[in-house]
Amino acid sequence: MARLSIDTLKKVYGDFNAVDNVTIDIADGEFLVLLGPSGCGKTTTLRMVAGFIAPSAGKIAIGERDVTNLPPWKRNCGLVFQSYALFPHMTVAENVAFGLEMRKLSPADRAPRVAEALRLVRLTGFDERYPRQLSGGQQQRVALARALAMQPDVLLLDEPLSNLDAKLRQEVRVEIRDLQRKLGLTTIMVTHDQEEALTMADRLVVMEKGKVRQIGSQRELYEKPADRFVAGFIGRSAFLDGEIAAPGRFRTAGGLEITSTAAKGTGPATLALRPERIAVAGDAAASANRFEARVEHVSYLGALLDVDVKLSGHDRMLLQIPNRQGGVEPKPGETITIGWAEDAGLVYPREP
């Protein structure tokens, strides 16, 4: 176990910055999730930590050890691949023992550690099976056991749950998290699944276009998204484009005047509102900002209703209304009152 530091890491392909000055410090025993849309550089970052891609610049250190220029087989990072990558011609026990064999452990020394690793993933008794005789979930656990058996300094998980069905994914999530806590393993997981990231991580790193957009806890990312991208990527946000007219005053493209404590500076900007902060009908009566909105479209989602509304010719936004007994149920074509408090929104300068 050790801390891991990634320092101004960079990977350039031609004139494309796959990973652009990424700096992350991961504490001993921390579970860090790299989250972002596909092509954001999260997997490239993970593969640089594992040693499969040589960085163009920057430094990677595990504990006090600078591993930037070490080959993969000298890094002692346990990697669980998305496809599991089990050795098809070896039994479960041979797969799990492989890392120990490479560390020149005698067969007698290997056996108890293989047994322990298989016990941790609840696969005791599967020693002699071949990977093809196992279900997807079992293969995934063998891959995990194989990585754990060699007692890695850092555990790396590359979208480990994406090949499992939805129900199994829920279970394995909890299992991996419990195991990681119990063993105190410094862990980096890569995923594009927001829910997975939010339930498993101690801390999250949101990446986009090779850059780190924000590092923080779930609460920090949701309540204080650093920019418009994070506000839209973590949870949902309603966006209104416009400009900052004066400190505390935001004017939308359609000319609506909004008071917002977040409006600072000047120039083109975007106001982001979390859907649950927007009140509807009677609840909106006391709001500082109140508008009449025409309902365009309603989607029934069970616990929630997604409602597209138009505030003016240029301003549209998406509301989420709880679907509760006796609550408001807007119909397309109706006009409803919506409103929000002065401190409800966040204002971001328009990105070029």
Binding site: F52, F87, H89
Partner: protein, 272 residues
């Protein structure tokens, strides 16, 4: 009714066509085998009776025995050299962007489609010229013969090994390296076992091709050094008694047995 009958009719036609093709392939083998048991010396129908004496006569034919030993020797050596050259070549072709890669690939497969006579003639000229230029004995030597046979083994190796590499998941190599295996250990412990069936099949087909090669070898054998197919041909120039048929049956049985045994370990139908 007719809707149900139509696909079964199609199936019947398909099975019939498959059966006919199989018969077409097997018929010569069946006849040779049948002939080997005829009692009379001059093959004619119907047989006058049956006998095993022609099988007993095979070991007495020194030319056949020597030919068999030489063919075996050449076949084994050419197969081993062909694998040593062909497996790395396939790895390089599949995994690395090589300058003129597709051209190299075609070149390596060429001996398979080149007529044996053409191959034999050009090698004959090449070996004579080399011998004149360097003074090394080439033509008619074991080395010269093995080198030529290696040429017909390599296409099988390249074809079958590239085919098995194409379906190979490279992340298992990364997994091995992640677990602490260096490049060599990764190759021996992970890559090689994964393409084993392709290699075994390549060895088998390469060997059979070399063992049965007639046209090319005709140009390259020397006095006192004759492969089995040539020994059989030479025998047929003087006699047509069923000893030749018996020798062929022994070959068919040996090769058939090799295929069946191999198939038990690696499914040949999966790679060829």
């Amino acid at each position: 009714m007719s809707a149900a009958a139509r696909p079964s009719l199609g199936r019947l036609a398909l099975n019939g066509a498959a059966g006919l093709s199989l018969l077409f392939i097997l018929l010569p083998l069946i006849f040779v085998t049948w002939l080997a048991f005829f009692r009379q010396e001059i093959p004619s129908f119907p047989p006058e009776g049956y006998s095993l004496k022609w099988f007993a006569a095979v070991p007495g034919q020194k030319a056949f025995v020597d030919g068999f030993v030489l063919s075996l020797e050449v076949g084994v050596l050419a197969t081993l050299i062909g694998l040593v050259l062909g497996v790395p070549a396939s790895l390089a072709l599949v995994r690395h962007r090589i300058v003129l890669g597709p051209a190299v690939n075609t070149l390596l497969l060429l001996p398979l489609v080149m007529p044996g006579i053409v191959l034999g003639t050009s090698l004959y000229v090449f070996q004579i010229e080399t011998e004149i230029a360097t003074g090394w004995p080439m033509l008619g030597s074991l080395g010269g013969l093995v080198a030529a046979h290696t040429l017909v083994v390599v296409p099988w190796v390249v074809r079958l090994v590239t085919a098995s590499l194409a379906g190979f998941d490279r992340t298992i190599e990364e997994a091995a390296q992640n677990l602490g295996a260096g490049p060599w250990t990764t190759f021996w412990r992970v890559t090689l076992p994964s393409i084993r069936s392709g290699i075994v099949a390549a060895g088998l087909f390469g060997f059979v091709t070399s063992f049965g090669n007639l046209e090319m070898s005709l140009f390259l054998v020397g006095p006192g050094r004759t492969t089995l197919p040539i020994a059989i041909l030479q025998y047929l120039e003087w006699k047509i008694d069923p000893t030749v048929a018996a020798a062929s049956v022994i070959q068919i049985v040996l090769i058939g047995a090799a295929m069946i045994i191999t198939d038990r370990y690696v499914k040949l139908s999966r790679v060829v």
